[in-house]
Assembly symmetry: C2
DNA sequence: ATTATACTTAACCAAATGGTTAACTATAAT
DNA sequence: ATTATAGTTAACCATTTGGTTAAGTATAAT
């Protein structure tokens, strides 16, 4: 599990847990934008957006700079890359798991049909 | 941004935002474990761990099955892989950014030293 | 100088979160 | 049958979160 900055990951994942904030990041991936532009698609007040931006900024996911009376926001790479690195550990874990299942199945070919475990990975919600 | 299940991502990122829960996942990546074993490293009450496990289970990150008087917990792939897929979008975005910066720098070799922008990516915290 | 624009800050609220202790349930051991 | 083990559920608490409206600040336009 190497080194990971715990508090930074806390803030990053917490910031990503809100769909409005994820949508703001998605918008910013298409280019810098002012607060007003970012707020426009959402049906919440400007102060609410301002708070979301503060959370994103607190996690280091974005920066805000004042230009005249406008605030221009831009997405930043650091925290998302750190979150990616953390998750990547588990993706590799699961890839190894799937690989060993596969090689097991290769070496132990199914004798008949109808094994047992019918827990069909319920994709609820 | 394709299709992503919003509510599932909400729950997954929220679950991953807590360091105790991330540590529990890390432990479970080393193999299944009972609630007691999972709780042992932490300095919080058993009910607190029970709640964390409920959150992880609610996000689909783990399962609990009762075996005798013991509950055996196991990590599950789905939600982490979904979170990885979401984040991967941004990793690719940043890779493209870095690539275009690199090719820009290749095509516009630095005329002298000392450009201007000295915003050395403050790695606070 | 006045007014409009683009926000932020303050004060408040309800709901969710992470923790606690105490009480309960189900299984295993004696 | 009694007691210990493994955990959950219930009730409570303080803090945080995501939202609101109202008021404030700084810049731009008239």
């Amino acid at each position: 599990m190497v080194n990971y900055n715990v508090r930074s990951l806390n803030r990053t994942f917490a910031a990503l847990a809100d769909p409005t904030r994820r949508a703001i990041l998605a918008r910013l991936a298409e280019g810098e934008a002012t607060v007003g532009v970012l707020a426009d698609p959402f049906d919440v007040s400007l102060p609410a957006i301002s708070k979301h931006l503060r959370v994103l900024e607190g996690a280091g996911l974005i920066t805000r700079r004042k230009l005249g009376r406008v605030r221009r926001c831009a997405i930043l790479p650091g925290p998302i890359m750190a979150a990616d690195a953390w998750i990547n550990h588990y993706r590799q874990f699961w890839e190894r798991q799937f690989d060993s299942l596969e090689s097991y199945l290769d070496e132990n070919p199914s004798p008949k049909g109808g094994e047992d475990d019918e827990s069909a990975d319920d994709p609820n919600d």
